[in-house]
């Protein structure tokens, strides 16, 4: 009898400790993460070498600035001012004194080392969690010295991915049309630049009108529309060699070209006798296939990332709307049903969304919708803007805007802008000249 009750006692006592209080934390602050990007430490010899070859006075500092600017532009990070840093880059890279960094309110820290060795540039960087006082990531790269900017971008990609869970988009380029001159007679050239605006290169001379360029998946070829010899046709350009060739032998205007996700096919519109339909051409065997067959205008095609579907723009219902069909042209379904006119549909590299331009009551919008047309969200509104293009991680959209002219018809300008998928962080993308028709490459390093 006694033992029975003692048994109960033993069960009773610990049970009272099972009382676990749960507290729900449903709010926090949505401010950018404070991160300290220290200069990469560099020895005097390497500094000299880089200065000699590249006229770069402090490679360690320059690379860290690239990382800082990239992170800042995302709107997700707040890189802290270097002047407040207490620890020297050389020591910080070996074993940072986390209290020093926590003191300036940094929650993450990037340190590194760069050396010139065997005619190559070698970089080592580390990402630290300041509050947990531990290393989160450490990587080394070796490359030719002239690639030093890409090293900064690759480091940013890795840091970004580790801290947000998403792949980065910094080691990429943007191809666009550089514009100059009066609005009634613009001079247009194809241009490429790094996504942070550096290393701009012009691919054509401006003698003929060029429009809507696109990279192929390996970023080595470009397809675009050219009015060479006053015959508007789709062309292919090899970035390395600069050689241009016309795509196919069409008896009429071809335009709006894109590559398929495997890079083997070019899909475009072909206009003849007042009707524009979508065609594909296999780059290897040069076989042309007709994809749409309808008296309406069918243009702006865009493949889904798995290549199975195509979204495109058609006015078969009376006005421009967005449609989705299988890549062989069957099963055409309309997906845009909101108030207004829709154009330039672009399938996200993540496969989950389609970005578009919308026109309604005299205003232009950039928006996204799910691939079945639901969940339409408008991200930004302007007097004139169009043609969104996705960053390779499907998070950021780049597009272009044109300004109104004044009563004299002057003051026209065209510029590239970018915006985050959430609608935040709308910012101007700096270009040397006016710019339009931007298209984002995939990650260069793969």
């Amino acid at each position: 009898m006694l033992f029975r009750y003692l048994f109960i006692l033993i069960i009773l006592l610990p049970i009272k400790a099972f009382a676990l209080i749960e507290v729900d934390i449903t709010r926090g602050n949505l401010s950018p993460l404070p991160i300290a990007v220290s200069s990469l430490s560099i020895d005097e010899e390497s500094k000299e070498s880089f200065n000699k070859i590249l006229k770069n006075k402090d490679m360690g500092l320059e690379i860290s600035i690239i990382v800082e600017n990239n992170l800042k532009q995302t709107g997700l990070f707040n890189p802290l001012n270097k002047n407040a840093f207490l620890q020297n880059p050389d020591i910080a890279h070996l074993k940072p004194r986390f209290e020093d960094w926590a003191l300036i309110k940094a929650q993450a820290l990037v340190t590194g080392k760069v050396i010139f060795i065997d005619e190559k540039l070698r970089v080592e960087f580390r990402l630290w969690d300041v509050l947990a006082a531990r290393e989160m990531m450490a990587l080394t790269f070796t490359t030719v010295p002239s690639n030093w900017r890409r090293v900064g971008h690759i480091i940013t990609d890795k840091v970004y991915e580790r801290l947000t869970g998403e792949k980065g988009y910094f080691d990429t380029r943007i191809i666009y049309v550089a514009e100059e001159g009066k609005k009634i007679n613009r001079i247009k050239k194809l241009a490429i630049m790094d996504q942070d605006g550096f290393n701009t290169k012009y691919l054509t001379l401006g003698n003929e009108l060029v429009l809507t360029p696109r990279f192929n998946p390996t970023n080595q070829m470009v397809t675009y529309l050219s009015y060479f010899r006053n015959l508007p046709r789709v062309y292919l350009l090899d970035i390395e060699t600069g050689v241009q060739e016309v795509v196919g032998d069409f008896p009429g205007m071809t335009f709006a070209p894109r590559f398929s996700p495997d890079g083997k096919i070019i899909i475009m519109s072909f206009a003849m006798d007042g009707n524009s339909d979508i065609y594909t051409m296999d780059l290897e065997n040069r076989i042309v296939e007709r994809i749409t067959n309808h008296p309406s205008i069918d243009t702006s095609p865009s493949y889904s990332p798995n290549g199975k579907y195509i979204c495109f723009n058609s006015d078969r219902s009376g006005y421009q709307q967005i449609y989705v069909m299988k890549s062989n042209g069957s099963n055409v379904k309309r997906i845009s049903f909101g108030k207004g006119i829709y154009g330039t549909p672009v399938w996200s590299p993540r496969g989950d969304l389609i970005a578009f331009t919308k026109m309604h009551k005299g205003k232009f919008y950039i928006g996204v919708m799910r691939t079945d047309g639901s969940g339409e969200r408008l991200l930004t509104q302007n007097f004139y803007q169009e043609a969104p293009s996705w960053s390779p991680n499907g998070r950021v959209l780049i597009f272009y805007r044109e300004t109104k002219t004044d009563e004299k018809g002057e003051g026209f300008s065209a510029k590239l802008w970018s915006i985050d998928l959430t609608g935040y962080n709308e910012r101007l993308v700096e270009t040397e000249t006016d710019a339009s028709d931007p298209s984002w490459s995939s990650l260069l390093s793969n």
């Binding site: 049970i15 209080i21 934390i25 926090g28 401010s31 969690d129 947990a132 947000t164």
Partner: protein
């Protein structure tokens, strides 16, 4: 043309008249009031008595109804417990489990736990013969405290007018962590954004140990954002040390679970 002018003038006159009637008195001088700064002294007590928003009131009404159901169930159990030997043990467990579930529905129930625990703590000698009696008492106590809580919520309507506000300890802790948590901005908002962290605390509020529940999810491919979210929660806890814990009842809160839920902030 003349007709248009006439119509236009009529409308204009109409607008002028309306504006004239509603124009403020320009000649009078404005009244000079010193700026009023309101200061609220919030006391930290066992129970929250902050006036509830209408929605919250509905939730509380619902919980009150549930409470009533529970307290009605209690009496039949008392009858069972009077039987000796075999029955008390399993019933005890059921009793405790029931209490935990109830607690989740209604935060106020924690107070019941507290009272019970202190009851047990006070008892140093367990008289085997009187355990049954004790158990009966505890059941009565839940019934009584139920009634008490009902009374209090009714009284709250009056108390708003009379006394000031007071934050419960839980609210104070929440407010503290809200300030420390930097929610990563890049998270996809169509995924489950809930991270649960179990903490073991020292009496002064510093953390001895933290454990992420669903730890396996941290390294799952495609769930990279979960790791990021969990790390941000851990950073929040680190930043917020020492946690603002109640000054008494260490046994009660030395094991704490924080449920970080980013859906409200990121919901899109």
């Amino acid at each position: 043309m003349i007709r248009n002018i006439a119509i236009s003038s009529t409308f204009h006159l109409f607008i002028v008249l309306i504006t004239a009637m509603s124009l403020p008195f320009l000649s009078k001088k404005p009244i000079d009031l010193p700026p009023i700064i309101s200061i609220e002294l919030i006391q930290i007590t066992d129970k929250t008595s902050i006036p509830f928003a209408p929605k919250a009131k509905k939730i509380i009404e619902k919980i009150k109804k549930k409470e009533k159901l529970v307290s009605e169930q209690a009496p039949p159990k008392i009858v069972k417990k009077e039987k000796p030997d075999a029955v008390p043990l399993p019933d005890e467990k059921i009793e405790k489990v029931k209490k935990l579930e109830e607690k989740k529905q209604n935060p106020e129930k924690i107070e019941n736990e507290v009272k019970q625990v202190s009851e047990f703590e006070k008892e140093e000698l367990f008289d085997p013969n009187s355990i049954a009696a004790l158990i009966d008492k505890s059941k009565e106590e839940t019934a009584e405290t139920n009634k008490k809580t009902n009374k209090i919520t009714q009284d709250q309507d009056r108390s708003i007018d009379m006394t000031g506000l007071s934050l419960s300890e839980e609210d104070a802790l929440k407010a503290q962590i809200f300030g420390c948590w930097s929610i990563p901005l890049g998270l996809p908002y169509n995924e489950s954004l809930l991270v649960r962290i179990k903490l073991k605390l020292k009496p002064d509020g510093s953390v001895i140990r933290s454990e992420i529940l669903d730890h396996a999810r941290m390294n799952k491919p495609g769930q990279g954002f979960y790791k990021v979210l969990a790390e941000s929660a851990l950073r929040a806890i680190k930043l917020c040390q020492p946690l603002r814990v109640p000054t008494t009842g260490y046994e009660r809160w030395k094991d704490l679970q924080l449920n970080f839920d980013a859906r409200e902030m990121l919901g899109g």
